[in-house]
């Protein structure tokens, strides 16, 4: 069981995006490594109780973005890690996302400390230790 996918059907982020994000996150944290195989479209669709087209769409995006590559007839595999963005670009994107996040939240009138603590909570769910039986890349 190389990865545990899970989707939130009630979320406002589309399902295909949730799949893409989870693969990318797994690649970033090391839970998935270069050459690891992804579940087949059919298998994943069945597991998530989701339309196969949705999974196919997500996989298509991953291939298009160079995160995964298909080896014909054998399935989809994680591509070698490429840093697509410069460090500057990464930070720029992070800052922009933080801006958007706060503009969402500002009018809810939370204390800064509350925002931080909820973020840390959520962070705890995202950041999992990389595969325990393999050293991190």
């Amino acid at each position: 069981m190389p990865l545990e996918f899970h989707i939130a059907p009630g979320s406002d982020t589309p399902i295909y995006r949730q799949i893409v994000d989870q693969v990318r996150r797994a690649a970033a944290t090391g839970a998935l490594r270069e050459g690891d195989q992804l579940p087949s479209v059919r298998a994943l669709a069945e597991q998530l109780v989701v339309n196969p087209n949705t999974v196919a769409r997500a996989y298509g995006d991953l291939v298009r973005d160079g995160v995964a590559e298909s080896r014909h007839g054998r399935g989809l595999f994680l591509a070698p890690k490429r840093r697509i963005f410069s460090n500057e670009e990464r930070r720029r994107r992070l800052r922009r996302a933080a801006e958007t996040f706060l503009s969402e939240v500002a009018f809810l009138d939370f204390e800064s400390s509350e925002i931080r603590s909820v973020l840390d909570e959520t962070l705890g769910q995202w950041k999992r230790p990389p595969h325990p039986n393999k050293e991190a890349s």
Copy 2:
């Protein structure tokens, strides 16, 4: 020059949402204060080269969220700050926003500490003392 609106037409966040966010941000930072008048629907639509209905949509959302209120025939004004939502709902929205934020950022492979520090940085720009100088109106 009470407020400078600007929109990114090609963005993935809809135009009406960009308008809403800018008003909310202005209200949060104090650039816009209780009782201040917003530009008229037609004026802002012309300025942004956007359909008036799009602006009207944004304004309607602001009214529904209690950020602004319309005085009939006279225009839209920034409403007094009220707690519209229950604590439960506020936290629900905060959590949802945090998840969206992190899902956008996760694959950039930042350390948690980096994310926190950028957030704190941005937080500093948002939170400022309420009503530092009241010379308006």
Copy 3:
């Protein structure tokens, strides 16, 4: 026949509001229950001989008020009952509605007791035990 919508086109309350009210009423009386699907925008628009945008407007309001939630690509469903608004806001809205009600009725020159008794009568039709029999779904 899950729900019978009907609108009065000549009424002073806008069409989209009539739709919203009927859904809310159905939710209050139990005619519509958590998880029940609402007719599609296009279907309801056709049934009511109304522009789809008008129905979409109503549905948008229902989502914003937490009465319904949209599952992308699948439709609109009645949301689990949540307390969206703060107690302050709830009372504010109740008071506003009461004032509107009485201002419509005051010039009819009823005794307070008569108004109360008619209200109680109507109240009896609205409040009923939550989920008396769950055979749906």
Copy 4:
């Protein structure tokens, strides 16, 4: 001072309507009696800090509905009380208004007792004793 007008600028009921309602209510409760003179358009507009057109519009409606009549050159006077509606019609209208009221309030999830108490509160503000120095008609 035959009547104390007051308007709520932030209300969702238009100003002209608030004026109309107050005159009709005063006529219903006996605070204003047949032949009593209403303040001039200019005077009332000034008192309420309102556009004279708005007052004129309200007065026009009152005349059109037979509640007041203008004696040319002398001003506006309360017309003799006429029951425009049959008792059945009055009750029908009361019931309809109660329905609308509750459809507004239902999803706020109040106890019946709370609704009653807020209504009584509001009722207390509306129903004032008729002119103390004159016996009721």
